[in-house]
């Protein structure tokens, strides 16, 4: 029962079908990777799960530990424990990182309960240190004027602070140099545990050397066309996707 489960999901945007019967299950405690060529629908999947208003779910289900997410508001899903590290994180002018994180943490507390500010700051500074983020960062507006790499680190920091049950990381490796990639991977690995699941979306095999997945899925034209062990990622790196596309044609 404890899993992030996507069942035969069909979704469209502006009347164009993007996800065409996608089925996938990430049991709690596991790390699954989704790979796929550009435009195959990876980010669409992430946004549909999170509840983005532009995407229409035609049919199918998304269940978080057995509970359907699709009828819930975006923020409800988040508070249920779903976290999305965005491929392109939004910039929020005027809102400092510290205030933003604090508000997000406060939103998870029961009515009338106030966040412990001292403990919060202490925890934030510790986690920033783990990710090699400068202290001055707390006063800067969320993602505003951040480099690509800084934005991705910030996504991971937010994930570490919000401790979701399931985290979807959408191309968190893009824009990172190798050192930054290692730091970010360390952050993610430190969060791996028996009561958390990860869905790691990536374009390159490189990230999976540092965040070693339990399973790899290949997304192509809105469907999972292949699933396998972590070695599948290496195979993809070597042979490209064409080899699978043919397989997909055969299957149909």
């Amino acid at each position: 029962m404890s899993s992030l489960e996507i069942k035969d999901l069909h979704a469209s945007v502006n009347g164009i079908d993007i996800l065409k019967g996608l089925t996938l299950s990430v049991p709690m405690g596991e790390v699954h990777a989704i790979m796929g060529p550009n435009g195959s629908g990876k980010s669409t999947l992430a946004k549909v799960m999170a509840g983005h208003q532009d995407y229409e779910v035609e049919s199918g289900e998304v269940l978080l530990d057995g509970e359907s997410l699709l009828g819930m508001e975006v923020d409800e899903r988040a508070r249920e424990g779903l976290f999305l590290a965005f491929q392109y994180p939004a910039e929020i002018p005027g809102v400092s990182n510290a205030n933003f994180l604090r508000a997000a943490r406060q939103a998870r507390l029961p009515d009338g309960e106030e966040i412990d500010a001292v403990a919060f700051y202490q925890e934030m500074y510790e986690k920033m240190a783990q990710l090699g983020i400068d202290k001055k960062f707390t006063g800067r507006a969320v993602n505003e004027g951040f480099s690509g790499g800084e934005k991705k680190r910030n996504e991971v920091l937010q994930m570490m602070m919000l401790e979701p049950k399931y985290a979807v990381l959408d191309e968190t490796d893009s824009g990172l140099d190798i050192d930054a990639l290692k730091i970010v991977a360390q952050g993610v690995n430190a969060m791996r545990s028996g009561d958390r699941g990860f869905l790691v979306i990536t374009h390159y095999q490189r990230l999976l050397e540092y965040i070693v997945p339990d399973h790899v899925h290949v997304l192509y034209e809105g469907r999972i066309i292949r699933s396998g062990p972590k070695e599948l990622a290496l195979e993809l790196e070597e042979k490209g996707y064409d080899w699978l596309k043919e397989g997909e044609l055969v299957k149909n």
């Binding site: 975006v74 923020d75 988040a78 965005f86 939004a90 929020i92 005027g94 400092s96 939103a107 507390l109």
Partner: protein, 472 residues
């Protein structure tokens, strides 16, 4: 799950907090409609001198002569029916010096609004007006001993006639605009303050204007004189219950800062959505004096308010810092007037408006620097934030600078809180209202930082409430 506040302050949030009223037996009621009889009634109740009665009557004729300014302002002004408003309502009691003596329903009103508590914690004095008259008025002994006078306008007229009369109507003449004329005809309540030379009042003096009655107009008149080298911070708050019918609030506020004096006037108003709020505010700054308006307009159906500073003495400074939040069905028509009338005078205008849903914000600025002066400076900055595409914002800056010995700077910006930003914040677990509050607070943050702490907390709380209301 908590959907309430992310504010980090401990004040409980209740959107309806100011939306209540009490049935009061008014001893004095001028009745519906406006005529010379209405003015006589008010003068009678107050036992006013003849010159004031005459002043009122003259003002009424100016009011009748002046056209509604719908040729440049909102046509919504035509929805005000002056015959269906009561112009004077009071319990017929002098303002009390102790809350224990204030009639129950009035005392409860101000307790629910947290006034006595604020008074205890950080204010030097409070005047609490209930409809047309103050129910409570007190200034702390230490402040009174310095010679500071803080009373309502009637008491000011009666007890301090010489100084009152010297400045009354001098900063804002009756005929300044239609609503200053209306106020001059039917004014009641408001504060009269005098700060003697060199006295720096450490804590703010506060007035709270509460409208309780339906189909009513509140017309307080405030006159503040801060003598040479003295300093004062004054704060006003205002609320009213929400009625089906329209409520009118039309104040006139005149400030006089003598040589080297400093006045900071802070408004945090939170009118219900049926209030027409048409207010004239202006300060006169003598040599090296400073007048600073901090003006936060939240709520009301239509607010028209353009605080001004006339810099009459060399080296005088004027400042208007304003925040306006227009929610669905509201129009905030605000701005600033800076009149440079001496050399080396400096003015600064920073205006931030937020329009939500169908809310509408208008900025009107006027900066006047005549040719014969030198060394004058103005900085004007107006920023608008739109939350959702239906919002509307207009900017009408009028900067007339003659001559070339001056420096002026003008900046304007319009930004949007995009759906992607809201989505991002919601994905982190914030409700839509919390996400909007955070954006709005972020937008005004650099201004709010300059406010005294108590008011920045208050403002933040009001923004939270307003955002919660806007997403229903």
């Amino acid at each position: 799950m908590s959907k309430d506040s992310n504010s980090g302050n401990t004040i409980e949030i209740d959107r309806e907090e100011a939306n209540f009223h009490y049935d009061v037996n008014y001893k004095h009621d001028a009745g519906m409609g406006l005529s010379e009889d209405t003015l006589d009634y008010i003068s009678n109740v107050k036992g006013e001198d003849q010159w004031i009665a005459d002043f009122r009557k003259k003002a009424l004729s100016v009011f009748h002569k002046k056209k509604m300014p719908t040729h440049w302002a909102s046509e919504d002004l035509d929805s005000i029916n002056f015959d269906e408003i009561r112009y004077y309502l009071s319990a017929g009691e002098a303002p009390k010096r102790s809350w224990d003596d204030v009639p129950d329903e009035m005392k409860e009103t101000f307790e629910r609004l947290g006034i006595p508590e604020k008074e205890r914690s950080f204010l030097a004095g409070v005047e609490a007006q209930f409809d047309s008259e103050a129910a409570y008025s007190n200034v702390k002994d230490a402040v009174a001993e310095q010679g500071v006078i803080f009373v309502n306008s009637s008491e000011g007229l009666a007890e301090h006639a010489d100084i009152f009369r010297k400045w009354f109507g001098k900063v804002i003449p009756t005929g300044d605009n239609k609503f200053s004329a209306l106020n001059s005809a039917v004014f009641s309540g408001g504060s009269f303050i005098y700060v003697p030379p060199g006295v720096k009042v450490k804590h703010p003096l506060q007035a709270y204007f509460r409208i309780n009655a339906e189909q009513f107009g509140q017309f307080e008149r405030t006159l503040i004189i801060v003598d040479e080298g003295a300093e004062l911070t004054y704060m006003e708050g205002c609320t009213a219950p929400k009625f089906e019918t329209n409520t009118l609030h039309s104040a006139v506020v005149e400030l006089v800062a003598m040589k080297d004096a400093k006045i900071q006037y802070i408004t945090v108003q939170n009118w219900s959505a049926n209030v027409f709020n048409l207010v004239t505010k202006r300060g006169l700054a003598h040599e090296n004096a400073e007048v600073r308006w901090i003006d936060c307009n939240i709520g009301s159906r239509l607010t028209m308010k353009y605080p001004g500073v006339v810099m009459k003495g060399a080296g005088a400074r004027g400042e208007v810092i304003s925040i306006a939040l227009a929610n669905d069905g509201q129009h905030q028509d605000t701005g600033a007037k800076m009149i440079h009338a001496a050399d080396n005078t400096t003015s600064n205008v920073v205006s931030k408006s937020i329009s939500v849903g169908e809310g509408r914000s208008t900025y009107r600025g006027q900066v006047h620097i005549p040719k014969h002066l030198k060394g004058c400076k103005n900085n004007t900055e107006c920023d608008a934030l739109l939350i959702n595409s239906k919002s509307r914002t207009d900017t009408y800056p009028a900067i007339t600078v003659r001559g070339n010995k001056h420096s002026t700077q003008h900046e304007a910006s319009v930004s949007q809180v995009s759906e992607e930003q809201i989505f991002y914040m919601k994905q982190r677990g914030l409700s839509e209202a919390e996400a909007m509050s955070l954006s709005v607070n972020g937008f005004v943050n650099d201004l709010v930082r300059e406010f005294p702490m108590e008011y920045s907390v208050e403002l933040k709380r009001l923004i939270d409430l307003e955002m919660e209301g806007s997403v229903g």
